[in-house]
């Protein structure tokens, strides 16, 4: 077997590669299998869009919080007790009757983990990363989010240090709902901007 880099030679099956990396780093005492178990479990059970939904619902019921959230996303999210990675520079952008925001990472998969969890597969796929910049209106319609042509679409590329969260419009007819009931209406996709709640 050659010891070449992944250029040129057929790569070893990726699972063996990942397992070898894990073994080698565990032998160095750097990352233990137990640590990996804990991280995996945390991301599967503790992080997720329910936290972003809580932020959105608060902004819907509290105009002062909404203003604060749009001015300083990171601080406003922390104030709800939400901590975690990839929201150190969080910008929140608000949809309105005339503008719709949508988030993409053209270079890889940057995403505000602490409020949305890890990104879905489509977010990481090349077609989404390329087409959301080139033809957002068409792609949004294909994803089940058709927008009237009078609505301006703003595409936010997370490739800088910034992470983005879309604040969707509060759905009509929800005046009587509690904050918790409102949070249950907020979908992950609406906070990425590929759907409306």
């Amino acid at each position: 077997m050659t010891t070449g880099h992944h250029h040129g030679t057929p790569p070893a099956p990726v699972e063996r590669r990942a397992a070898a990396l894990e073994e080698l780093l565990a032998e160095q005492g750097l990352v233990s299998p137990e640590y990996i178990d804990a991280v995996q479990q945390a991301y599967e059970t503790q992080l997720g869009p329910m936290h972003g939904a809580r932020v959105v619902a608060r902004a819907w019921v509290d105009p002062a919080y909404r203003e604060h959230l749009l001015a300083n996303g990171t601080r406003a999210v922390h104030e709800l007790g939400i901590q975690g990675p990839e929201i150190e520079h969080l910008t929140v952008v608000a949809n309105g009757p005339e503008v719709h925001h949508v988030v993409v990472c053209t270079l890889c998969s940057c995403y505000p983990w602490a409020v949305l969890g890890l990104p879905p597969n489509w977010y990481k796929d090349p077609p989404y990363r390329a087409r959301m910049v080139r033809e957002p209106r068409t792609l949004l319609a294909e994803m089940g989010c058709p927008l009237h042509e009078s609505v301006e679409i703003q595409v936010w590329d997370s490739s800088a240090e910034s992470r983005y969260l879309v604040l969707p419009e509060r759905p009509p007819g929800t005046e009587g709902l509690s904050e918790a009931e409102l949070a249950a209406l907020v979908t992950r996709d609406s906070m990425v901007g590929v759907a409306v709640p």
Partner: protein
């Protein structure tokens, strides 16, 4: 890792899909998180640069394959493993 998240935030995740499609993906994610925490002070930026390069290098490669390649590049670049260490271990 700092995860001060109360367990009461239990509205539906509405992910519509599992976080990881296969167990090995969760493991290589956790491995990267461990390296970032232990060797990069929790800063994902160096890993992210490797990931951007790995994706640009082979855009059609599956995402977690690029992730694995990026992690290998990161630890080799940081001097934690030799360039051939992974390939040699696989060959063993």
């Amino acid at each position: 890792m700092r995860l001060d998240l109360d367990g009461t935030a239990a509205p539906p995740r509405r992910n519509g899909e599992p976080v990881f499609d296969a167990p090995w993906q969760g493991r290589v994610f956790g491995l990267a998180a461990g390296v970032v925490a232990r060797r990069f002070d929790g800063d994902w930026a160096p890993f992210r640069r490797c990931l951007v390069d790995a994706i640009a290098d082979r855009p059609e490669r599956a995402y977690w394959d690029s992730w694995t390649a990026a992690l290998e590049e990161l630890v080799v670049g940081a001097g934690l493993l030799g360039r051939d260490a992974v390939a040699r271990r696989i060959a063993d």
